[in-house]
């Protein structure tokens, strides 16, 4: 049975009267990849900073690897690798020197060997002596991942790792995350606004808004609870629309471009709808059913904003 790596209970972080994080509780199990979602200002970065002791909660309980931060800060941080916000390095030093320096700060005995290994892993071998100031954003992002992995952490926290990357860079980053999780068993907490990227890798989700956790749980469970987005192509659009309107409420369907019907309904209601359409003599050319994280995320936020 997987142990909880992160246990956050009632975390609060306030700046004056403003609560950036308000009574946040969540847990992350060993070996999982958690997608940490929310709009700007939701409190994601504040939470991530609390997880790596950059900032301290004003109240609440935070345990990592079953240990308390007050007593075991060093032990906890020796098992965490993080890339918070953008990858910043000493621009006047080379890539290798930067990694060596951070390796020494992590207590690695032979930082040069480990740094070269990491540069190889992130595809920067051959550029180790170049000053970081000459690196593109994508290369710095890779170097950020390398520094995060230098001390072989069990938990990897990535805050917007895909920001500024080109499409190939995003794919490469996703592949690296999957490799770390599947091949090396690393637990990963991934905060990102790029939902397809999260959807491709996350096994668990947390959605935050206004400092609070709106939903959390297994990605498959959360997504299956929601209505599916159906794209329907038929020959008699007007008749089909009448039929749909008799079966669904107004907010569950709309007519799109080219006479395509867009429906929102649960998976088990779809066969009955198709049957009714066919019985009324309407030819169904195509049925496309999708369940995207983006739809789920927008719905959750929409509901929360209306409260």
């Amino acid at each position: 049975m997987a142990h909880p790596i992160i246990e956050a209970q009632g975390l609060v972080k306030a700046y004056g009267s403003f609560k950036a994080v308000d009574d946040l509780s969540f847990a992350l199990k060993e070996g999982s990849v958690m997608g940490f979602l929310g709009p700007n200002g939701a409190g994601k970065s504040t939470t991530l900073r609390m997880l790596v002791d950059l900032i301290r909660p004003v109240s609440g309980n935070l345990r990592l690897f079953g240990l308390d931060y007050h007593r075991h800060r060093g032990r906890i941080l020796s098992r965490i690798g993080c890339l918070i916000e953008k990858p910043d390095f000493y621009k006047y030093l080379g890539a290798l020197q930067n990694l060596e320096l951070l390796g020494r700060a992590s207590g690695i005995r032979q930082p040069r060997t480990k740094a070269m290994e990491m540069l190889e892993f992130v595809g920067l071998r051959g550029r180790e002596k170049d000053a970081v100031s000459s690196f593109s954003h994508g290369m710095r992002q890779r170097l950020g991942l390398a520094q995060c992995l230098m001390h072989d952490p069990d938990l990897i926290i990535l805050d917007e790792p895909g920001t500024g990357l080109d499409p190939q860079g995003i794919v490469d980053m996703r592949e690296m995350i999957l490799k770390l999780n599947r091949d090396q068993g690393k637990t990963i907490l991934l905060s990102s606004h790029h939902l397809p990227e999260v959807e491709a890798v996350a096994t668990h989700l947390v959605v935050m808004n206004r400092g609070r956790c709106l939903v959390q749980g297994s990605a498959s469970d959360l997504l299956s609870q929601q209505n599916r987005q159906i794209r329907l192509e038929v020959d008699q659009v007007k008749e089909a629309l009448e039929c749909v309107s008799s079966l669904l409420s107004r907010d569950q369907y709309r007519l799109g471009e080219g006479g395509v019907l867009h429906l929102s309904l649960s998976r088990d209601k779809l066969p009955a709808l198709i049957k009714t359409l066919v019985e009324r003599g309407i030819a169904v050319y195509a049925v496309e059913s999708r369940q995207q994280l983006e739809d789920f995320y927008m719905l959750i936020l929409h509901q929360n904003n209306q409260e």
């Binding site: 032990r75 910043d88 951070l102 700060a105 992590s106």
Partner: protein, 280 residues
């Protein structure tokens, strides 16, 4: 881990171009002073000792390497705080501005150890800068002008220190000057903990020195009780080491005041930095 962190800090200081500004400035200033004294040192001495010549007849030349070294130190020690603050004021705030402080604080090394390594690096830099000043001021001056007895003007008149006694006194003076300059470094590193930009701690340190110096020089009864406890009052205490007899009780008091400043500043810095939210 602390030694590893101190090593890291030293590498960073060595790699930063601004670290060499101090050495360049000292080299240029000392070069200019030595050149001036080599070309027209006797006139300068006549000007300084002019008032004594009514009661005293001086035979031969007082101008030698020891005296030139002493003059250079007197002229330059007041400028060193700026050169020290330029590098040490950047140690934490510069990292905060660059965003690299996040990388360091999320390592297993405790925040206190991290900051102590910064204070340690500030000590190493201050020491190396002073050694450079010593080599330039005393070493090069001796090479150009040769050794000799040191004539020192004090409140009690002109004192002549035999040549053999001068070098040990220079070493003691450098040790005391180090403590005074390290107090400046401790101020700027502590200010550096409070700020997220590089300029603030440097300007803040210099402003504090100016304010304290002003309080120390203003002849206002209100400040009389405060003056002995200001670090700026003891910045030039190293000069007392060239007096005969050496006023050891005054020097020990100066060492005490400067040490208390250093310890208090470091204590505050450690307490503050340990609890600081890193938001950059």
């Amino acid at each position: 881990m602390w030694w590893a962190s101190l090593y890291n800090e030293s590498i960073k200081i060595l790699a930063k171009p601004r670290s060499y500004l101090g050495f360049l400035a000292i080299t240029l200033l000392v070069g200019v002073i030595l050149l001036a004294l080599a070309l027209d040192g006797e006139s300068y001495l006549d000007f300084v000792t002019g008032s004594l010549e009514q009661n005293l007849m001086i035979e031969g030349s007082m101008l030698n390497g020891h005296l030139v070294g002493f003059i250079v130190l007197q002229m330059l020690v007041v400028h060193l705080p700026l050169l020290v603050a330029l590098v040490t004021g950047d140690l934490i705030s510069g990292e905060a501005a660059m965003g690299t402080l996040r990388n360091l604080v999320t390592r297993p090394l405790s925040r206190r150890s991290l900051l102590l390594s910064k204070y340690g690096a500030a000590a190493v830099y201050t020491m190396v800068l002073l050694i450079w000043l010593g080599l330039m001021a005393v070493g090069v001056a001796q090479w150009i002008f040769g050794p000799g007895d040191l004539a020192v003007l004090s409140g009690e008149g002109l004192q002549i220190l035999p040549s053999v006694e001068v070098m040990p006194r220079f070493l003691q003076a450098f040790a005391l000057a180090f403590l005074a300059l390290y107090t400046v470094a401790a101020i700027s590193v502590t200010f550096s903990c409070l700020a997220d930009n590089s300029i603030g701690p440097i300007v803040g340190t210099m402003a504090l020195i100016m304010v304290f110096t002003l309080i120390g020089t203003l002849d206002v009864p209100l400040f009389e009780h405060v003056r002995p406890f200001l670090f700026t009052t003891h910045m030039a205490a190293w000069r007392s080491l060239f007096l005969d007899p050496t006023p050891w009780s005054d020097i020990l008091f100066s060492i005490g005041v400067l040490t208390v400043h250093c310890v208090a500043l470091m204590g505050f810095g450690l307490h503050y930095f340990d609890r600081k939210d890193i938001l950059t």
